[in-house]
């Protein structure tokens, strides 16, 4: 993994500065999904874009920190977590997808019952899944160029 893989030095330094901010913005969008626009999907895709940004700037060397298998595992964990949330309603109240956490006080973070944990589950799933798709496409293409 030589140094000059990925894009030029300027892009690498800019990415190093901005990746943290993009991730923070993604987490903000996910966590305030029920109060302001955004939610699990938008936040998840933003998180995926931050990681893809890292991958494109540093080339496949960036994969060490966040390998493809980790993305697959996080994605299935997110999916199982979301199914679990839906099942809790069935187990506790006998109604599938019931909001078993109540509605809480409006306009504050912990307010909307299952919406916040579900948003987190979706964000995990969408973020890791889309990152996995882009990594798989990038790896497939580099493999083909060698052929």
């Amino acid at each position: 993994m030589n140094k000059n893989e990925g894009m030029s030095l300027i892009v690498k330094t800019i990415t190093r500065l901005t990746v943290g901010l993009i991730l923070l913005f993604g987490i903000y969008i996910v966590s305030r999904g029920h109060l302001s626009p955004g939610g699990g999907f938008a936040g998840g895709v933003i998180i995926a874009l931050a990681l893809v940004n890292l991958l494109l700037a540093y080339g496949t060397r960036g994969l060490k920190k966040f390998p493809l298998m980790a993305a697959e595992i996080i994605e299935t964990i997110g999916a199982l977590f979301f199914i679990l949330i839906s099942l809790f309603g069935l187990i506790l109240f006998g109604v599938y997808f019931y909001n078993f956490l109540g509605t809480g006080r409006p306009f504050n973070l912990m307010s909307a019952g299952i919406i916040l944990p579900a948003n987190i589950a979706i964000a995990l799933k969408v973020g890791a899944g889309l990152y996995g798709i882009v990594v798989a496409l990038v790896l497939a293409k580099s493999l083909m160029e060698k052929k």
């Binding site: 595992i73 299935t76 999916a79 199982l80 199914i83 309603g89 069935l90 109604v95 909001n99």
Partner: protein
């Protein structure tokens, strides 16, 4: 109690799919192989037992099972609605799903990354379960899309050149049909501002839809769903997608996917929700007859076993469409009866072709020969399936084709009845060719022992080919077929009492 079984129908396959993916990525190949075979078969068996339980409750109590998701009343929340019509599709989906998982334990050893196949397959079952029980149009669209996306990847599972091209063609036509369906749902929402089937049909009863909007929505829905059902003018993807898919997947595709995603929504929307313009059923009938003819004529020249079966699927779907398009009580009952029978014998034929390909490695009828004694179970069950698809008396195919022909004569479509008879004879000829070249003829292959799961599946399905002709007995006929055709023929009135 049985209302709570409904969510399990969807949760078990979905949780199974996610667990399979989780175990597939974390554990090593040799560790997770046995575990996943067991897990997947258990979840599809669980789905089957729940479907049968729900079927018995609906048949005995003759009521409609409803379920409000999330506890919200149905125009606000999503409504699940299981009546006699959706029971037929529900039980067939889970029965074929269990057969396919049993078959693929042995068959899929030829492919790499078996856990990905299992995960996508369970998503197929979850999607079709929801499509057959949901009472909400957009929910039907989302899980229809889930089933098709899972089947795109499964058609291209072998990653060979022609499989990728077949999957590419299927993807293009599948996406176009999904867009047409979504556009039709948007227009319907524009007029009725609701997505719930019961709400829409009640709204349309008292303020009738103007003729121009009705034709637009009818054409969009019809084009969308007949692309999924491979009815003749839109059948281009089927003869490529089915042969290149792995055998259990082409068995599911021909057996049930084109029915749950194609025929069922057409029946539900055009009989129960919107009353289409008068000439719609005539067009639907003639397209069905055309599918019968075109499918079998193209099938006669084929020498590739699976491609021949794929063309026969198009012609058998034509039979089902002709039955249902007659819109008479006998016609609809005959169409649904043939739909169940076709699911059984067509999937058995695809399993046979898979077993032959597994043993001999070829799909070409020329290179096969004398398989009668090298693959006894396969040739026996293939004989049973060929006779039932050709409509030979003791087997189930005969009874349903007979009912369709009687229904056509009863409602005065003599030409269509004649076409049905001619097509049945050509089908018989085509399958005699298969028997002669593949199973009789001089011996080319030695004795070959198939994995036990494959033989077991083929024997069960061969018995089912015989067993399903018992539905002709009046007692079973009334509770299964009569109840279903009453739902269809009753039209929008069926939603009035809910």
């Amino acid at each position: 109690m049985n209302n709570n079984l409904l969510p399990l129908l969807v949760v078990i396959p979905l949780a199974g799919a996610f667990l399979t993916a989780f175990l597939g990525t974390t554990l090593k190949e040799n560790i997770h192989k046995k575990l996943l075979d067991l897990l997947v078969n258990l979840s599809s068996l669980g789905g089957l037992t729940i479907a049968v339980l729900i079927a018995t409750t609906v048949f005995n109590s003759r009521t409609i099972l409803t379920y409000n998701l999330g506890g919200w009343m149905w125009p606000v929340g999503i409504l699940w609605r299981v009546d006699a019509l959706s029971i037929i599709f529900l039980v067939t989906v889970n029965f074929l799903g269990f057969m396919a998982t049993l078959f693929s334990v042995g068959y899929m050893e030829k492919y790499t990354d078996k856990w990905k196949y299992y995960s996508l397959f369970l998503l197929l079952i979850a999607g079709m379960n929801t499509v057959s029980i949901t009472g909400d149009l957009f929910n039907l669209y989302v899980f229809l899309e889930l089933t098709t996306i899972a089947s795109y990847a499964l058609v291209a599972f072998g990653c060979e050149a022609d499989e990728l091209e077949a999957s590419f063609k299927y993807l293009v036509l599948g996406s176009i049909s999904s867009l047409f369906i979504l556009l039709a749902i948007a227009l319907l929402y524009g007029y009725t501002s609701s997505l719930n089937m019961v709400d829409i049909s009640r709204f349309l009863l008292n303020n009738r839809m103007p003729q121009s909007l009705l034709t637009l929505i009818t054409t969009l829905f019809f084009v969308g769903f007949s692309l999924k059902a491979a009815i003749v003018p839109f059948h281009a993807w089927l003869p490529d997608a089915h042969p290149s898919a792995p055998a259990p997947i082409s068995a599911m595709l021909s057996g049930i996917i084109i029915k749950v995603l194609g025929i069922y929504p057409i029946v539900r929307i055009f009989f129960n929700i919107i009353t289409p313009p008068a000439q719609f059923f005539k067009i639907f009938l003639y397209l069905g007859a055309l599918s019968m003819l075109v499918g079998v004529l193209l099938a006669v020249y084929q020498w590739d076993f699976k491609r021949l079966l794929a063309y026969h699927s198009i012609s058998q779907i034509g039979y089902v469409v002709v039955g249902i398009a007659l819109a008479t009580p006998l016609g609809v009952a005959a169409g649904l009866f043939h739909l169940i029978n076709h699911a059984v014998f067509k999937s058995l034929l695809f399993f046979n072709s898979g077993a032959v390909e597994y043993a001999t490695g070829t799909r070409d009828l020329h290179q096969m020969g004398g398989l009668q004694n090298s693959l006894p179970a396969t040739s026996g069950s293939c004989l049973v399936a060929s006779m039932s698809i050709a409509g030979i008396p003791p087997f189930n195919g005969f009874w349903s084709k007979l009912l369709i022909i009687l229904a056509a004569i009863q409602s005065g479509h003599y030409l269509i009845a004649l076409i049905a008879v001619i097509v049945s004879i050509i089908t018989l000829a085509s399958f005699l060719k298969v028997q002669k070249y593949a199973f009789r003829g001089e011996k080319k292959f030695g004795r070959y022992h198939l994995p036990v799961g494959m033989n077991l599946t083929m024997i069960i399905l061969a018995l089912a080919c015989l067993g399903f002709s018992l539905i002709m007995i009046p007692k079973f006929y009334t509770i299964i077929l009569d109840a279903a055709q009453q739902v269809v023929v009753a039209g929008p009135a069926v939603f009035s009492n809910l």
